[in-house]
């Protein structure tokens, strides 16, 4: 069971269909999903899942970046996590990273800088963000574009973050995360 966490503001009427359902469509080809809004995640949800995917959100939606205390569970849930865009930014802040302005909207190329189970070499991705995260020393950089860090991993935990949207292009990244853990 995969817990897919909806990172969209409740003010966004279409965040669920635009940023969560496409992830679920890819993930459910391999494993059953349970979807919860980030405000609804509780101990029971965390206990019954095997892995967790944090969704992205709309460009104007930065609500989770101001509520990192709600994601303290990332520190000790013990489950593999894939944070996508807002999910990566939020997880990065939880582990001491720093938010920087970085605007990329559309297809962009990123280059893998460290071998990992999710992707390799240089490839094109769909980006939709106004901010990126400079990771703390607790995390390592896995890939970068010409503008900013695009993928990270926690050094001790299986907590991955990708700034690009693999549910739009590069669905295999989500599939490899599911199959790897």
């Amino acid at each position: 069971m995969i817990l897919v966490v909806d990172m969209n503001s409740l003010k966004n009427p279409f965040g669920f269909s635009e940023f969560v359902l496409p992830i679920v469509a890819v993930a459910e080809e391999l494993e059953k999903c349970d979807v919860k809004h980030y405000l609804e995640v509780d101990e029971r949800n965390l206990n019954i899942c095997d892995k967790i995917i944090l969704s992205g959100s709309a460009l104007k939606n930065t609500v989770t970046l101001d509520q990192t205390e709600r994601f303290a569970w990332l520190k000790d849930c013990g489950k593999p996590v894939l944070g996508i865009c807002a999910g990566m930014q939020t997880a990065g802040l939880v582990f001491g990273g720093r938010l920087v302005e970085c605007r990329e909207i559309g297809m962009t190329e990123i280059t893998t800088s460290k071998a990992n189970p999710l992707f390799s070499s240089a490839f094109k991705v769909y980006a939709l963000h106004n901010y990126a995260v400079v990771p703390s020393s607790k995390c390592e950089v896995l890939a970068e574009s010409a503008e900013c860090v695009h993928a990270t991993k926690h050094k001790q935990k299986n907590i991955y973050g990708v700034l690009f949207h693999p549910e739009v292009r590069n669905k295999e990244v989500i599939q490899r995360f599911i199959q790897a853990f």
Binding site: F14, E18, P22, A58, I105, G106, N130, E167
Partner: protein
């Protein structure tokens, strides 16, 4: 939230509008009329019918002409959206984008510059599911353009129904067509939908086709009482 919908008069933008109206307040439609038949952004047959469609729904329409040159047409779109912000105080734009990263990214960039939300309620939807939803919701959407083998003149002007969906899905398996025309294989025009207070009645039309490329041109149309209404 006050919303403006990018509206071509086809099935996707009309379905996006249908969904937007359920969750927000749609206050205007925005249409770009491109002179460039090759435009990736805006070209569609029967774009001239959007005025009647807007009237049928009782919604104001911001209609802008564009020469359709790649970068200029984006400036024209930005000007139209800026006008919608000024005249109708929209806080967000809704599009019918399903698969096109090219279109979606450019509209996202414009909305980001203008400081408003950009919503894509059909984004990455299963294409067969989209067609089924259009039929289930009671849309009368006709095929107004075909642009790929083995589609031909016989498809033009036909209403999308369950039989057509079955055929399109079969062709997608056999020839790799996108069932709902996401690759530009099919264009559609909506003549009636749940938000239409009146339906579009086509009085004069002409199907023009050469091999596997053709359009169903609506030459004269009017609003007629909607049989299912009231």
């Amino acid at each position: 939230m006050r919303l403006g919908v990018l509206f071509s008069g086809g099935k996707d933008s009309t379905l996006a509008l249908h969904k937007a109206a359920k969750k927000g307040k749609v206050v205007c439609l925005i249409t770009l009329v491109s002179e460039n038949k090759e435009s990736y952004m805006f070209h569609t047959p029967n774009i001239g019918v959007t005025g009647l469609q807007a009237e049928a729904m009782g919604l104001p329409l911001i209609k802008k002409a564009t020469k359709g040159k790649p970068e200029e047409e984006l400036k024209d779109l930005e000007a139209a959206i800026a006008q919608a912000i000024k005249d109708f105080e929209i806080e967000g734009v809704v599009t019918g984008a399903v698969e096109s990263v090219y279109q979606a990214a450019r509209i996202q960039q414009i909305c980001n510059r203008l400081g408003i939300w950009c919503f894509n309620p059909l984004w990455k939807r299963n294409q067969k599911g989209l067609l089924e939803e259009i039929v289930a919701e009671g849309f009368n959407a006709i095929v107004s353009g075909v642009f790929a083998y083995p589609l031909d003149k016989t498809w033009l002007g036909k209403q999308i129904d369950d039989d057509m969906i079955t055929k399109l899905v079969a062709l997608s398996g056999e020839y790799g067509l996108s069932p709902s025309g996401e690759g530009g294989e099919i264009e559609t025009t909506v003549l009636d939908a749940p938000l239409f207070k009146k339906r579009i009645e086509v009085l004069k039309s002409k199907a023009e086709a050469k091999g596997n490329s053709g359009v169903f041109r609506i030459k004269q149309a009017r609003l007629a009482e909607n049989d299912s209404c009231c």
